[in-house]
């Protein structure tokens, strides 16, 4: 592990137990992230991208059937920690999360200032006074007027609530923040403002991001690296500069071609068929039934083929 490396996920699995069988939401996922780098996890709904975030942060529901693998954060494998150790040492201390629909994730009966201060009090046993001071620094950082410290969530606009959810994730100064669809409920201009903010914070606080989204166009606002997820597996990882210009996996190619562009004349295309159910998946490449480039070998599970900083899980490149 090099000095620059912050997070290394190896062979991470998260299955859920249901009455129909086990859902393979995260299946043999490998991922690496350097300090001050932002990786985007792109995928359609139900592909397991939120489950991956929850597996990394160990925010699990009760019906877990399988949860194993390695998650190295710095030098420690956090998967070996007990739940209590994980809560004390890792969650919100070293990594935090801005949940999906964060605008509605705020507690309606707490003043937003208290809510941003809370992680400091819980994790660092800070006095309320000090924690509130830290909260007001964070408010300034995310561009929320200090007068809003005493307000409740319903008194604020969506953009302001989103900024406060971000402040909440930053207040303990973690080294990694997971952003789950941070702007999907926001308007175009507000969205652009939030991405400007996230870019600025990344430089100022030297934070790494894992950005989870299905919005390919806005994901490029933040991405240094891109990982494409399909049916519980990562099928391609590459630097953003290569990926957006030249995606390799047929699914990634199709996905990028489906984005309507404001500038440029290519007509967007769609991908026919639908993703497989994550219950009882068979052998072989999971995209094969929808793949235009399918051939005989696709009946076997393709390996992850790595050259330089690029990895593709497709027989075409074997």
């Amino acid at each position: 592990m090099t000095d620059a490396s912050l997070l290394r996920v190896e062979d991470l699995n998260l299955y859920f137990r249901t009455t129909h069988g086990d859902v393979q939401a995260v299946d043999h996922v490998d991922l690496e992230l350097n300090r001050t780098e932002a990786i985007v996890i792109l995928g359609e709904s139900g592909c397991g991208k939120t489950s991956l975030a929850r597996a990394i942060l160990r925010l699990l529901p009760r019906n877990v059937a399988k949860y194993e693998g390695k998650v190295h954060l710095g030098d420690t494998d956090v998967m070996t920690l007990s739940d209590e150790e994980f809560r004390r040492q890792v969650r919100w201390v070293k990594m935090s999360m801005v949940p999906q629909a964060a605008m509605n994730a705020l507690n309606p009966v707490l003043r937003v200032g208290d809510q941003v201060a809370e992680p400091m009090m819980v994790h660092f046993a800070a006095k309320k006074q000090d924690a509130l001071e830290q909260a007001s620094t964070m408010f300034q950082r995310v561009g929320v007027p200090l007068g809003f410290l005493n307000r409740y969530a319903f008194e604020l606009s969506g953009g302001m609530r989103q900024r406060i959810a971000i402040a909440m994730a930053l207040t303990t100064v973690p080294s990694l923040v997971i952003l789950d669809e941070p702007t999907s409920a926001l308007d175009v201009l507000t969205q652009a403002n939030i991405f400007n903010l996230l870019k600025r914070i990344k430089q100022e606080m030297e934070i790494s991001y894992i950005l989870i989204t299905h919005d390919i166009a806005t994901s490029s606002e933040l991405a240094n690296r891109v990982a494409v997820m399909y049916a519980g597996q990562i099928v391609e990882v590459d630097d953003a500069s290569h990926f957006f210009a030249n995606p390799r996996h047929p699914y990634a190619q199709k996905l990028l071609a489906s984005v309507p562009r404001l500038r440029g004349d290519e007509e967007p295309e769609f991908i026919s068929g639908k993703p497989p159910s994550l219950i009882g998946l068979g052998e072989g490449c999971r995209f094969a039934p929808r793949c235009p480039k399918r051939f005989d070998q696709c009946d076997q599970d393709p390996p992850m083929l790595t050259t330089g900083r690029r990895s593709v899980k497709c027989w075409l490149y074997a």
Binding site: V188, T190, H214, A217, S220, D239, F243, L256, L262, S272
Partner: protein
């Protein structure tokens, strides 16, 4: 009052100085004020034409759409459909009007009744509108299912909404809006709840239906990048007013209103360069529609403010290029 049809010049829909205000809750006597959700909107729509109304949430685009559907009563101004004023219509005529206007909702799962299977969902509008013959109804349902490419038809008819994928649900919603053979379809963010790969499929389907049936489509959205492929003209709405109206190419290449400019700048295409630059976005948020700012409503955020004019006088529609209207003092 029935207007002379010839003066509409083949226009299907004409919206004239439309205002829809909602009164705030009152305590005792006197008025607390109004939410001016739509405040002076003018446009015309030709038969078979697709327009996109683009605006941020809270700008009044949904109210405008609902008023066109006949679900809100205008406070002032009028809506003419095929030469007839909607406000003059009685109950029966209003029902006939609604049969000529289809509605595609934003969230397909919320728009479909969970206890009705596909067949019942599609049959009900026919029954309500007096199609008595069972075989005619059956034939019509089959035709429309084929048009939205839900085949084999027999397999889908007994299914309930929860058994369908998001894309299939949206197809059923479109089929329902098409079943009475309307002249106009109003689509409220028809693809915002769907995945990227399905989005384009649904939009292409709508575009295809528009062409084959000579349908007019009003496509309400906040996403500029999809509008350009699926409509002829774009209207930009800000704080209850249409601030710019132009054809798609004209609007994208020769945008005039500073708000349109900001919207276009904020919309990104997938490009790794984006991560390296900061976007030039106007500060602040859209104004309250209860007490909108005087003069131009965009002036508090506008980088090109003309002092002494923009914050005082409301800009009328200027037409610096034929067919391209903009409500901004820069173009007087």
């Amino acid at each position: 009052m029935s207007m002379d049809t010839s003066s509409m010049n083949g226009k299907l829909l004409k919206v004239e100085d439309l205002r829809v205000w909602f009164e705030l809750r009152r305590w005792g006597f006197g008025r607390a004020g109004y939410v001016r959700a739509v405040d002076g909107v003018n446009f015309t729509l030709e038969a078979g034409e697709a327009i996109g109304i683009v605006g941020e949430s809270g700008c009044g685009k949904t109210t405008l759409m609902k008023t066109i559907l006949g679900l809100n009563t205008p406070t002032d101004g009028s809506i003419w459909f095929q030469g007839q004023d909607l406000s003059d219509k009685g109950r029966r005529e209003t029902r006939d009007y609604r049969a000529m206007v289809g509605f595609v909702q934003q969230d397909p799962y919320g728009a479909l009744a969970p206890f009705m299977n596909v067949n019942r969902t599609l049959e009900e509008p026919l029954i309500v509108n007096g199609v008595r013959d069972r075989n005619v109804r059956k034939q019509r349902i089959h035709d429309v299912m084929k048009e939205v490419k839900m085949e084999p038809v027999e397999e889908f008819l007994p299914k309930f909404p929860h058994m369908l994928s998001g894309g299939q649900q949206q197809r059923i919603v479109i089929a329902r809006s098409m079943i009475l053979e309307p002249k106009l379809i109003v689509a409220d963010e028809p693809v915002s709840m769907l995945d990227a790969s399905v989005r384009v499929e649904i939009l292409k389907l709508l575009r295809g239906l528009q062409d084959s049936h000579h349908l007019a489509v009003i496509y309400v959205t906040h996403d500029l990048s999809t509008v350009r492929y699926f409509s002829e003209r774009i209207f930009v709405m800000y704080a209850a007013k249409l601030v710019e109206k132009a054809t798609v190419d004209e609007l994208l290449n020769n945008f005039m209103h500073p708000y349109t400019e900001a919207l276009l700048a904020a919309t990104s295409d997938p490009d790794a360069e984006n991560a390296l630059i900061m976007k030039d976005v106007p500060p602040g948020e859209p104004p309250s529609l209860i007490e909108p700012p005087p003069g131009c409503r965009f002036h508090p955020r506008c980088p090109k403010l003309i002092e002494g004019l923009c914050e005082v006088k409301e800009p009328p529609d200027f037409e610096p290029v034929p067919g391209h209207q903009v409500a901004c003092w820069l173009y007087q």
